[in-house]
């Protein structure tokens, strides 16, 4: 037996002045199933909540319809009231008669009619709402960090504590990643404090278990309960974690792929990374051991081919000027670029001269010098002869990214980097809850941005995976009726979260409720009508639809 209570909130003068509440109360009291219909001055107030709780208990109400403000404002408030009164909160329907009725309808009569219509529809819908149970799930708070570069190190240090263990996996023999081969950083600060000290701290930290020369072979499970397999020396270690942070960084485009740069064909043509390594060794020299008197820095190598700007090359090239001039202050440096994208750090530098080009035509060797022929920005043919050429190749995704993405079940973007869930709303999360991305794995980034992202990831994890606290997965999820499912897998193809899997044994699809976010896309895609989107079932929506359009048809049916 359904015992429905209808309560209309006056919301101070907000609703009371615009809508004739008494007539609505009178009108709805006669609807079958409605046990009580009353008005109250302010339901969300302390007294209002007590009043509601009392009324629920007193009248043994099973369903609740509240005519008040937007669910976006107070749905949570009333969910809590229902819970405290011992009623299932999913049997409560909050009808928006303030924002979308009282406040936007100029005429009192029309507003009253609209409000009545909405409330009647709410009553029709609530009869078909089902009680849903919240689930609570034990979670593991440990973290797997893939990649021991600057981003991975920072994330590990932020997260490791006595209550939370971090497993840090690095495929190389040493931690530190790409940055450890740099002598200085264009953002300022020195590498020693930025990387070396972090490495030491990580190695000293008893709550961080470091796996070097290792690779993650498999990650199974979902947020709060992942199982990862880490391979080291052909031995597999299995660890249980609550979240996974992917910080595997990036690699550089191979200029050898473009013949005109003659990389690997002529001597004294280096990539930016080779210059960094050479500089770490003490000197930047030509193959014959002498210091270069003239250098050409060629920007945007591979930019055309890859189709995007890697945005930090211009900035870090400024640092090469310092490297070269430190040893030989008269060295002549030419910058050839297609598009310049410098950050605030280099904008003020007067000592760098640049030439805009539209194409490099050819690089040849003439009497020991590299002769570069290029077209200027306005199409003139010019050339320059130098001792050394430094190529700045675009940053591209690491070689193992496609396999890693397939293993983790997360998508890549058009450039081949890991795709964030939302560029503005959720920039470090991925489509799979509990898998986060930080640093260059998501696209070219400077160190500042990488560190910012690792802190963002740490923040996300610290506020969601709390030791001793259970997880509350989404309740309004989709459910596939096994008896109706034909196994066509349409739902599987439309799900953005990988929440639906195909059960081969039974030939049907199954929703993983832990991964489902409750958008309902699969429910409207299913050709067999086998999918129910809980709390937004087709039946509930039809009830609402019928009642808003054709009053009382649904009511009569139920009487």
């Amino acid at each position: 037996m359904k015992r429905i209570g209808v309560f209309i909130c006056e919301c101070g003068p907000n609703i009371a002045e615009k809508i004739d509440i008494d007539s609505i109360v009178k009108e709805v009291s006669s609807i079958s199933g409605v046990e009580i219909a009353e008005r109250y001055k302010l339901l969300c107030s302390k007294d209002g909540k007590e009043y509601l709780k009392e009324k629920i208990k007193e009248n043994k109400l099973t369903h609740l319809v509240l005519g008040a403000c937007s669910p976006k404002q107070h749905e949570k408030t009333f969910i809590k009231v229902c819970e405290e009164a011992g009623m299932n909160p999913y049997l409560c329907n909050l009808i928006n008669i303030r924002e979308q009725c009282a406040w936007m309808t100029p005429d009192r009569e029309e507003a009253t009619a609209k409000a009545l219509r909405c409330i009647r529809a709410g009553i029709a819908r609530v009869k078909y709402q089902q009680s849903l149970e919240k689930k609570y799930l034990e979670s593991n708070v440990d973290i797997l960090v893939i990649g021991g570069g600057i981003t991975g190190l920072q994330t590990s240090l932020l997260l490791a504590s006595d209550a939370r263990k971090v497993y840090l996996v690095e495929k190389n023999p040493d931690l530190g990643g790409m940055v450890s081969s740099f002598k200085s950083l264009f953002e300022g600060g020195n590498v020693k404090s930025v990387v070396k000290e972090k490495m030491e701290k990580v190695l000293e930290n008893k709550n961080i278990e470091v796996f070097t020369n290792s690779e993650v072979k498999d990650v199974l499970g979902f947020f709060g309960n992942f199982i990862a397999k880490i391979e080291k020396d052909n031995k597999i270690t299995e660890v249980k974690t609550g979240a996974v942070v992917v910080a595997t960084g990036c690699s550089l485009f191979d200029p050898g792929q473009i013949a005109k740069y003659k990389y690997g064909k002529l001597d004294d043509i280096y990539t930016s990374l080779e210059i960094e390594v050479m500089n770490m060794g003490g000197r930047i020299v030509l193959k014959n051991g002498r210091e270069p008197q003239s250098v050409a820095i060629v920007h945007c190598v591979g930019r055309e081919e890859k189709g995007y700007c890697s945005k930090i090359c211009c900035s870090y090239s400024a640092k090469f000027h310092d490297y070269l001039r430190e040893k030989n202050k008269d060295v002549e440096i030419h910058n050839l670029y297609y598009d310049l994208c410098t950050s605030q750090f280099e904008r003020g530098r007067k000592d760098i001269s640049v030439t805009r080009i539209s194409d490099i035509e050819e690089i040849t060797e003439e009497s020991g010098k590299k002769h570069i022929e290029y077209l200027t920005g306005d199409g003139k043919k010019e050339s320059v002869s130098v001792d050394m050429v430094i190529l700045l190749p675009v940053i591209e995704p690491g070689k193992n990214v496609p396999e890693l993405a397939a293993m983790l079940r997360i998508p890549l973007d058009a450039r081949g980097f890991f795709a964030e869930e939302h560029v503005k709303l959720n920039p470090v999360a991925t489509s799979l809850e509990g898998i986060y991305i930080a640093g260059c794995v998501q696209g070219p980034k400077n160190i500042l941005e990488s560190i910012t992202q690792s802190e963002a990831v740490a923040g996300k994890i610290l506020c969601s995976l709390i030791p001793g606290k259970k997880l509350e997965p989404e309740v309004m999820v989709s459910r596939i009726a096994p008896s109706l499912c034909t196994g066509c897998q349409t739902c599987l193809s439309v799900c953005s979260y990988g929440a639906i899997v195909f059960d081969r044994e039974n030939g049907i699809c199954v929703t993983n409720e832990m991964l489902c976010r409750g958008c309902g896309n699969c429910a409207s895609a299913c050709p067999s009508n086998a999918i129910t989107h809980k709390h937004f079932t087709s039946r509930q929506i039809y009830q609402e639809l019928t009642e808003v359009l054709y009053p009382s048809r649904s009511m009569k049916e139920q009487k």
Binding site: S70, P71, K72, Q73, N96, R98, E99, Q100, C101, A102, W103, M104, T105, P106, D107, E110, A111, A113, K114, R117, C118, A121, E421, H422, V423, K424, L425, S431, M476, V494, S496, Y497, R517, G518, C519, G520, N521, A523, S524, A525, H533, F536, S538, I541, Y542, E544, L545, T546, V548, L549, Y550
Partner: protein, 141 residues
């Protein structure tokens, strides 16, 4: 053409953008005709093509589906699915003799109260010109 006629519009609004945009219109006290009957869904991709057809058969003069702008979907790409289904429904309506102008898909973000008001006003005026939905209440499915 009857100026007094207020068409019945069923609006399927996505919870995250358009419903919030409608709320904002109310909070900003933007006044509009009471033609809209809102049905809140979590995502515009929840709108089953059947909902649209049923709404027209049940007596709606127009059906509005509103979701987040392309690229802004709370569920990553639900609005793209909504857009595809909408295109399908439109050609289906045309083929089966409905008036496809009676359905509309709009993108309204949570910050676009004014856009929401304009959408409702424009659609209402368009439907006023079209007159009552002749397919209404002819068939019940």
């Amino acid at each position: 053409m009857n100026e007094e006629f207020t068409p019945k519009i069923v609006g399927f609004l996505c919870n995250w953008c358009s419903y919030a945009g409608a709320d904002l219109a109310g909070v900003s006290r933007l006044q509009m005709p009471p033609s809209l009957r809102t049905i809140r869904v979590m995502c515009s991709s929840r709108v089953d093509p059947l909902f649209i057809i049923k709404a027209l058969l049940y007596g709606a003069d127009g059906v509005l589906i509103a979701g987040c702008h392309p690229g802004d979907c709370h569920y990553m790409k639900g609005n793209y699915y909504a857009r595809r289904r909408f295109a399908m429904v439109k050609s289906l309506l045309e083929a089966t003799g409905f008036e496809p102008e009676r359905v509309q898909l709009s993108w309204v973000s949570a910050s676009e109260g004014i856009r929401f008001k304009e959408t409702i006003e424009e659609f209402t005026n368009k439907l006023r010109k079209l007159g009552r939905n002749k397919a209404a209440k002819k068939v019940f499915v």
